[in-house]
């Protein structure tokens, strides 16, 4: 398992950060904390794991960002979505999830696909229809909608 690496740049008052590896007790967000900006865009696409100490470090980190900052989470993997749903504080006031991965099941090939969804795709708590990249047939959303999309109500 790899330690967390953070690559970020500031473009017109917006911090664009990419995270890769594990968010755990050793995760340090000090470099981003120093940059106090109006907007933050966090890309979690390459995050492999987050443990309980990592959740605490993350919550402490986002609490240090400016209170009126706009915070956007992008490409949240399933494991991050699960933790968001289980623990309060992962999504701060003013933060929103722009996109995230969700499991879909292709019955024909007996295969699970992680599909990148936008939060705006979720209407009335229902998963959008997604077609299999292999067969073109509609796949089944493979989680409990009320549970998996719980973070949208936070």
């Amino acid at each position: 398992m790899s330690k967390l690496t953070i690559n970020f740049k500031v473009v017109s008052n917006k911090v664009m950060a990419n995270f890769a590896g594990n968010i755990d007790e050793d995760a340090s967000f000090a470099e981003i904390e120093k940059v106090q900006e109006k907007e933050y865009v966090f890309d979690f696409d390459k995050v492999n794991m987050i443990n309980s100490c990592g959740i605490r470090e993350w919550i402490k980190f986002i609490e240090k960002l400016p209170k009126d900052a706009k915070i956007i989470y992008q490409k949240c993997p399933q494991i991050i979505i699960e933790q968001m749903n289980m623990v309060h504080g992962f999504i701060r006031q003013g933060a929103s999830i722009e996109s995230f991965y969700a499991p879909y099941y292709d019955e024909d090939s007996d295969t699970e696909h992680k599909i990148l969804l936008k939060s705006s795709d979720i209407k009335d708590g229902k998963a959008p229809a997604v077609k299999s990249p292999e067969s073109g047939k509609e796949m089944e959303f493979d989680a409990i909608e009320a549970q998996y999309f719980g973070f949208l109500k936070k």
Binding site: M1, E25, D26, N48, N51, S52, R56, I79, E112
Partner: protein
Amino acid sequence: MENKKEFFLNLNDSALKKEIAEHLGKLSNGISVIDHPVENPNFIIVDAHNIEKYDEAFLRQHGEKIILLSELSDEHNILNYIAKYPINHLIGINGNNVILELENTINKILSSQIWGLKQYMHPMTQITTEGISDSRQIDGVIQKALGKIDYSAYFESPLNYLQVMSNELLTNALYNGIAHRNIINVKEGIDRKKEVFLKGSEHILFSVAADEFAVGISVQDSFGKLDRDKVVASLKRSFIEKTAQEKEGGAGLGLYMIFNHSNQFILNTKKNKRTEVIAIIDSNRRFKKYRERITSFHYYEEVSS
């Protein structure tokens, strides 16, 4: 004359009741299955409907006799049964193989052979065990052991959940064990950023195994400080508050995460000698089924002779 253990089956589902009665009858000659109330049975296998018919005083006094088959949510099960009464065995009714789980539970209770993953696996299953002696080894040992499992019978991401559970179990065992040894307040704990080392005869063992029904991990330590009260208090707090704790040691969410990510959560203890936590995930290709699975809770204690 043989002293048979009486199991009262207090179940509404007559088909399940019949199936359980047949299996228990074959399990051991020392078991007597009863389908009507008797004065003082050794064990009561009860469903979530019928347990509500017992009053609080009965559940407080006789909770240890109960094996609850529950269809209710994990949160409800922990807050309303496990945290309130001394019920040590709760089986999620929608598991892949409820009968096998019940048999394992009864075998462990009757035999007092409580330790290890072997109880949960086919006898021919190979169990990989790695020792840990310092915090720097944790990630490598997890990678090595979990890398040996074939996940083709599972949904796409069991490895992610096994990694999180293994990490939480090993860091808890190591840091909390050393905090106890050094007489540090375990509630405050040791900073998880610090490197720590076991010494002398202290040991932590990490085991992994998989068969056609399940994949399991086990973390055993030589401290024996984690007990039912501590586990249940942690789960209760986490289910109610759902927050990380701000303190020197862990975030107070590890056991909650392990419970949420496992299908069976098993705690084996021998006070001040040994603790083992086992987490099992049922074999299945559907993530949804994994998530729908009501988590079982089992607690066993080996009493010093």
